[in-house]
Chain length 343, copies 4
């Protein structure tokens, strides 16, 4: 069978997580997120982001996190601004609209948006109340194109949102990979400080399932549990989520796993560079988008699986190679050898 | 007070409508659309569109018509395709999304879309079920820019929709103006034949309020009354809507009123042309968009009201002049004289 | 044709309203509720309720008023408490639930609820956040059974709501009839004082269409216009609503019409009493519910139309007789004569 | 620490499930339910219910299963009928209404409803389209009170639903316990035959998380995946759900675990009976509701945790004792000894 570089959720969980599940298995715990593990994981996360006023809620997946946060934060007439590449705009089957809210899209160069982009959108929506009211800005870090925001970019966005009466919400399904990229200058603390809310992805970084939603804006914390319940996200055995985040974050495991994924992606990136390939955009996280011609794609496809991300012209396409905590050095070495043989 | 060319709903109703309201006032009628007038108006409309299998429902306004039709036709995971200039996309405060459905927008040249535009959108939404399912195409005729569809364009769109398992729904808030434009080659019968549903606007063409929704696709007629009721659109005194449409359509009043509005707009258009003005787009209905510089705008604004539609550059803007059944020849003549004096 | 006592919206509008529509017809006005008539009607209403901080919004019908008010006031996890006979619970085709909110029902004796009833409901919903949060109390005055609240009852309910962090919203589709009942001790001012919001019904008291929503609670006024627009309730020719309420309320017409309806109902009630009939409940407004046996019903049905409201046993049913501003003294006299002949 | 009889989800997963998670951990699998384990689990379930035309979908919890099934099956104007004790009516924070649908409640004796109850409800909702349209009947087996449906009861309900154009949907969060109760005469095959859809609960019977939704009605299977995605229920690592159901159902583990739970509950029930206690209702599954006075409750509370389910009078309350696959014989023996000492 071919080795797959198609996504970063092909395997199960990091062994340490499975071990902790085994060890804790017969301890009786309260249900619905009131177990000791979840409460402990919340304490750890609040320490790591250095914001004692934040609150933490665990859910099972990214689409669920996005739709609950957004529908809980907004009143019926308020809308969301998202990059056109944003997961909520293109890949969640209308989940946000299904909760009643319009999602505006902004064209972007590399999956990122700026305050200027947002202001322009607001400027053409001045005919109130005939036009919907923009209220929440959604971004991802790392983005769907593997790019990351700099500290200045995040701070600028947050300041703009504060001044414009907008919430800033960051989809962190791959936040670990963003924070361990070699070009990154942001920290977890910055996300506790310069966002209204964000989430820390577990599924794509070593957990079986799970995303940790962190709400910094105290007004938005109020009665959030109702929304989790109403949207079917409050697991009876919430312990499953708490145990995993406790294990990932009690030391540096979370970041070690992400860094490992990035490093393997960077090794592959270097090999493509040495083979004189161009890229759809420059990335330093666990996703790379080399541009290949069809015969090169066929050659690599013989032993490896990956997505063709975007057809660029009759000859060339950008493919996506994505690595994870579970990608071994050995398989990457084998892949690199095949890249070296590309014609 | 200045005369207003700002919109086509500044006055009340055509006198014949008010007279009929007076005459019918004390007749006792069933409520909720089961009155004799509404039933009679339905018969007349079905004759005019020459489709005995169609059903007709009266509602009080355009946003209401759009949101009820769309939410009644779609299942939760289905979305709408609209021109970026479409009323539902830009000017209804998120009304469609509030019923749970995503609205995709297509960039257009003059407010119109083609099957090629739609196919392109569908092509980039192939990752089902992660991407929402396109199911209904929304267009307006005349469009928000005053342009109109030709018979060939409508037939092509309908054929494409039929082949692609899409519904075609036409917002006809200004359908009267479209059908009486000098360049028009469509008839009411064509709308009974080449659409799944459309509506015939009353508010902007002589009625106090009211739009007549016509559903041609028999599968979509089923239990439609529930949706009217549930969305608050079923008037206790539904007679108010029935009486007006009966009066507008029992002879050619509806089209006479629209034609009058168009003619006044064309007189003004000609005056601007003779003053060497350009236009945002070429129109033959009751909306025109001449491009003026600021001093010209100031000059005309002295005695007339209108919207500045779009700022084109530091000097020039397109304004919108809109006429209606109530616009008199005299006031247009006065306005034309002012145009002649433009510097 | 039989005369109908089936409902209070069988005829058109009071002649004074039609006259004012005629007179104002060609005045150019701003659209969407910004016309002079609507603004003037708001001023008049605020004077009548003696609450300068209230805001007034006009919509076309009762279901529309209910669904917009409730969905605008509540966050997604909040629910409504209603009498089991409440219009929103039984007769609006799930309109409130369609906006996402649960409606709890309370069994009642005569269509009215008390703070004790509500407290009992809250007591069995203490398992938060697994159980939904009660936030708004909906009542009607007069009720769907024609009964009315006393001043003490309204004040008690409002005080309880204030203490319990609940909103109190009154459906006033027939508020005119309630306030002019001979047993009434409430005033319009009381509704400006002891509710968070209420509406004043036009459709059932002389208007063609229209209900005036009055929001007293300033926090709930914020951005209410968006909700009107989003739900399709903002009429382009909002003047139609403003003119009618201006005419109804600039003097005592509104109350004169309601009083007339009540008086005719009371004449009929007295006739049934003299014929030794019982009633489903005792009412002093424009609805009465005499209990008849089948042969009596058949006898009255020969020349008059009315609803059989509730089958009580194999022989007897309560019927509903409802009068309006348009019910003439003459027709009532004729009806009374038939009642006198009942066997 | 006290031993808890508060619920059947206090522990983790059955050891065999954890072992299989370990063994399969590094196998690369497709995401979003297209993994080998999920596909295999579907095959096994379809064999067990003996309905090759059924389709199976795995989700993470019961509220999620309920809200997705119901919102996917219904059009906007359709409602749900539920026992007043139904989980969706009382304990899901308005989750069904949040998807736009009214839930009617039927008073019941022991958590169960019959076709007569439903017909009565339909009879008082005949004023269409003003009254919402009933379309889906929701029941639980075992019920929230631990009672179960007989084969005749289920068949009668299904036949009634078929004749009345209603869907029958069974919440099977504790279906294992129902099917292994000593008084049960239903089989899994019956649920594949006499329901439109049902689900098989994993969370309360040995899994970490997970419910298997089985849709028998082929019309309702269409495009169901979109609803899973849109509601945030489609796990990237769907393998987690597939592996667990494969393990539970590949032999009789699922039923062995449920039977064990029932047996422990029956041992406790017998002890209460011998202590001359009455019960809120008679049950043969893993929930019992003995009626105790306050001093007895205090006595048992010293070493054991349980819920006080219902206060019956000043002295007596029904408590709920619930057992699970993880309840040991030893702890039950200890508890029984304490019951024997009750005064």
């Amino acid at each position: 069978m071919k080795y797959s570089f198609k996504n970063d959720y092909s395997e199960g969980a990091h062994p340490r997580i499975l071990e902790t599940l085994l060890q804790s298995n017969l301890s009786q715990q309260n249900g619905y997120g009131l177990d000791e593990y979840s409460m402990n994981a919340e304490v750890i996360i609040k320490q790591k982001i250095n914001n004692p006023k934040s609150k933490v809620y665990f859910v099972s997946g990214g689409t669920q996190a996005n739709l609950i946060v957004i529908s809980a934060f907004l009143r019926p007439h308020e809308s969301v601004v998202s990059p056109a590449t944003g997961h909520i705009f293109t890949n969640e089957s209308g989940a946000i609209e299904a909760t009643g809210h319009k999602v505006h899209s902004l064209e972007t160069l590399e999956g990122k948006i700026s305050s200027e982009d947002i202001q322009e959108l607001i400027d053409v929506h001045q005919n109130k109340p005939h036009q919907v009211k923009q209220k929440l800005v959604y971004i991802s870090n790392s983005t769907e194109l593997g790019t990351i925001y700099s500290k200045k970019e995040l701070m600028d966005l947050y300041q703009f949102c504060q001044e414009s009466n907008l919430y800033l919400f960051v989809d962190g399904a791959r936040l670990g990979h963003a924070l361990t990229a070699e070009t990154n200058d942001l920290t977890l603390e910055d996300f506790g400080k310069y966002t209204d809310a964000f989430y820390l992805g577990g599924t794509k970084n070593g957990a079986l399932i799970g995303e940790a939603i962190i709400i910094n804006n105290e007004n938005l914390q109020e009665e959030f549990g109702f929304h989790l319940k109403q949207k079917g996200a409050m697991l009876a055995k919430g312990r499953l989520l708490g145990i995993q985040f406790q294990e990932l974050l009690k030391d540096d495991l979370y970041f070690d796993l992400a860094r490992h994924a990035n490093q393997q992606a960077m090794r592959i990136k270097e090999a493509f560079q040495q083979a004189d390939c161009n890229f759809l955009c420059e990335t330093f996280t666990n996703q790379i988008f080399p541009i290949l011609n069809q015969s090169q794609i066929d050659q690599l496809s013989a032993n490896f699986d990956f997505y063709i991300w975007k057809k660029l012209n009759d000859e060339q396409s950008a493919i996506r190679i994505i690595t994870s905590w579970a990608t071994t050095e050995e398989v990457v070495t084998t892949f690199i050898n095949e890249i070296k043989n590309l014609k």
